[in-house]
C-alpha cells in the first residue's frame, strides 16, 4: 500500500470513529427517556361510580374514563383520541364519546362512529374484585 493511500484511509477510519463516538451519545441523549414505572394498577371503589355516571382516572400516565352504564355495566376506555391525541368527552345522554378537536365520535365499545379517527379507542382491561374495580 502506498504511504499516501494508507494515511488517507487512516484519516477516514479515525474521522469516522471519532464522529460516531460523538453522534451515538448525542442520539441517545436526545431519545425520549424510557417508561420507567409502567403498569401500576389503579384501584377504585365501585360505589364511587353509581350507575349512569362516569369517572376519569389516571392509568399509565394517561386519562381513562370508567363508565358505569345502565345496561352494559362497567366500561373502561382510554380518553386519548386516536386521531391526533385530544381527549374525548363522554355524553351520557347519547352514549357517545365526542372528540372536541375534529369532532370524531366513538360508541361505548370505543368503535369509531364518525370523523377522522383511524382506530377505535383503546380498551383498558379491568377486573371486578368484590367492591373494588382494579384497572390494569
Amino acid at each position: 500500500m502506498r504511504r499516501r493511500t494508507f494515511l488517507r484511509s487512516l484519516l477516514a477510519v479515525c474521522g469516522t470513529l471519532s464522529f460516531a463516538s460523538f453522534a451515538y451519545p448525542l442520539l441517545r441523549f436526545l431519545a425520549p427517556p424510557g417508561d420507567t414505572d409502567k403498569e401500576k394498577k389503579v384501584t377504585l371503589a365501585k360505589k364511587d361510580i353509581p350507575v349512569g355516571t362516569s369517572r376519569v382516572v389516571l392509568f399509565d400516565q394517561k386519562p381513562v374514563i370508567v363508565i358505569n352504564h345502565q345496561e352494559k355495566g362497567f366500561i373502561a376506555l382510554s380518553k386519548v383520541c386516536t386521531h391526533l391525541g385530544c381527549l374525548v368527552e363522554f355524553n351520557p345522554a347519547t352514549d357517545i364519546l365526542l372528540c372536541p378537536c375534529h369532532a370524531g365520535t366513538y360508541d361505548l365499545e370505543g368503535n369509531v362512529l364518525s370523523g377522522p379517527p383511524p382506530r377505535p379507542l383503546a380498551k383498558i382491561p379491568f377486573k371486578v374484585e368484590g367492591e373494588q374495580l382494579v384497572i390494569g
Partner: protein
C-alpha cells in the same frame, strides 16, 4: 474629531472602500419597486424578534410549573413587559407574513431562475426555520391553546409507519406533551434555531450580493428578461446606487412594518390571544376549538381532508419538496409570468386553494 475617528478606522478596516463597495457603488436596477424591499422588512422583523425575545428571556421560566405564571407576570407585573411580549407575538405573525409576501413577489417576478436557484432554496429554508420558531414558541406560554395545539401538531408524524411513532416521541421527549417537551421546545426556540437562521441568512445574502439584484422582467428597457446562461455579475452600470435609492425604500417599508405592528398592539391587543390562550395548560381537559396558528391552517386542513393519514403526510412532503426545489423544475426561459398563462393559472389556483383551506381550517 469625527474626521480623526474616520481616519483611524480608514487605516485599520478600510472604511471608504467598504462604503463604496456596499453602499454607493453597489448598484441596483433602475426599475426597482417597493417589493424589492420586502426581504429587508423580514430582516427588520427578525431583529425585533431577537431583541424582544431576549427581553422575554430575562423573566420567562421554562418549567411546566412556572411557565404560565412567569408569562402572566411579564404581562402584569414587569414594567412594559406586556409591550415586549405583544411585540414578540404580533411580530412573529407579521414576520411570517412578510416572508411569505417576499416569496410570492420573487415568484411572480421569476427571479428564482438561473443562476439564482440556490438563493431561492436558502430562502425556502429560512421560511421553514421561521415556521419552526413560531411552532416552538407557541408552546412556551404553557396555556391550554399552546398545550393542545402542540399535542395535535406533534401527533402528525405518527401517521408514518415504523419511524413515525419514534419521531413523535423524540419531539415530545415521551408519549405525551409534558414538561420535558417544554424544555425541548425552549431549547429549539432560543438556541438551536437562531444559529441555523444566521447560517442561512448569511448564505442568502452572500448569494444575492455575488450575483447582483435582478431587474423586474416587466419593464421595457430592462436587459434581463431571460435567465442568465453563464455567470455574469449583474453590476447594473446604468442603474442607481443602492444608497440612498433602494435603502430609502427599505427604510420606508421597515417603518410600515412598525406601523402595522403598533396598530395591532394598540387597537387590537387581543387579536392573537383567543380565550384559550389565557388559561393555564391542563393535560386532562381538551378545550374546544383547538387549531394551530393561521400559517399552519392550510396544511393542517389538507391533512384532515385526506382520509389516509400516511398519504396526507406524504403529499405534504412532496409539495414541500416541489416548493423548495421549484427553480430546478421550472426551467422555462421566460421570466415574465404575464407571458406564461399556464404558470399564471396554476399560481392563481394555488393561492385560491390556500385561502379556502385556511378559511375551512378555522371553522
Amino acid at each position: 474629531m469625527v474626521k480623526r475617528i474616520r481616519d483611524w478606522l480608514e487605516v485599520r478596516i478600510g472604511l471608504d472602500e467598504l462604503i463604496r463597495q456596499n453602499l454607493t457603488e453597489y448598484r441596483v436596477p433602475k426599475h426597482i419597486n417597493l417589493f424589492h424591499a420586502l426581504g429587508a422588512v423580514a430582516v427588520v422583523g427578525y431583529v425585533i424578534q431577537v431583541i424582544t425575545g431576549i427581553c422575554l428571556l430575562i423573566y420567562y421560566i421554562p418549567h411546566a410549573d412556572h411557565a404560565f405564571r412567569s408569562v402572566q407576570d411579564i404581562m402584569t407585573k414587569v414594567p412594559y413587559g406586556w409591550l415586549f411580549r405583544q411585540m414578540h407575538v404580533v411580530g412573529s405573525n407579521l414576520l411570517i407574513t412578510a416572508v411569505l409576501l417576499h416569496m410570492v413577489t420573487i415568484f411572480l417576478m421569476g427571479n428564482y431562475k438561473r443562476p439564482r436557484e440556490l438563493t431561492w432554496v436558502s430562502g425556502g429554508m429560512l421560511l421553514i426555520i421561521t415556521l419552526g420558531f413560531g411552532l416552538s414558541g407557541y408552546l412556551l406560554p404553557w396555556t391550554q391553546l399552546s398545550y393542545w395545539a402542540t399535542t395535535v401538531v406533534t401527533s402528525i408524524p405518527t401517521a408514518f409507519p415504523v419511524v413515525g411513532d419514534f419521531f413523535t416521541r423524540l419531539l415530545r421527549g415521551g408519549n405525551y406533551v409534558t414538561g420535558i417537551t417544554l424544555t425541548r421546545f425552549f431549547a429549539v426556540h432560543v438556541s438551536i434555531l437562531p444559529p441555523l437562521f444566521v447560517l442561512f441568512i448569511a448564505l442568502h445574502i452572500a448569494l444575492i450580493r455575488r450575483i447582483g439584484l435582478s431587474a423586474t422582467p416587466f419593464g421595457k428597457s430592462d436587459e434581463e428578461k431571460r435567465p442568465l446562461t453563464e455567470y455574469r455579475k449583474k453590476t447594473h452600470p446604468h442603474g442607481h446606487p443602492y444608497y440612498p435609492y433602494l435603502f430609502q425604500r427599505q427604510v420606508l417599508m421597515g417603518i410600515m412594518y412598525f406601523i402595522v405592528m403598533f396598530a395591532i398592539v394598540t387597537f387590537a391587543p387581543t387579536f392573537f390571544f383567543p380565550e384559550e390562550a389565557t388559561v393555564p395548560a391542563d393535560a386532562f381537559q381538551t378545550p374546544e376549538n383547538i387549531r394551530p396558528e393561521w400559517y399552519l391552517l392550510a396544511p393542517y386542513q389538507m391533512l384532515k381532508l385526506i382520509p389516509n393519514k400516511f398519504l396526507g403526510i406524504l403529499m405534504q412532503i412532496i409539495l414541500l419538496a416541489v416548493f423548495i426545489f421549484w427553480p430546478f423544475l421550472d426551467t422555462h426561459k421566460e421570466k415574465n409570468i404575464l407571458k406564461r398563462p399556464i404558470l399564471r393559472g396554476v399560481f392563481i389556483v394555488i393561492m385560491i386553494s390556500l385561502v379556502i383551506l385556511m378559511w375551512w381550517g378555522r371553522r
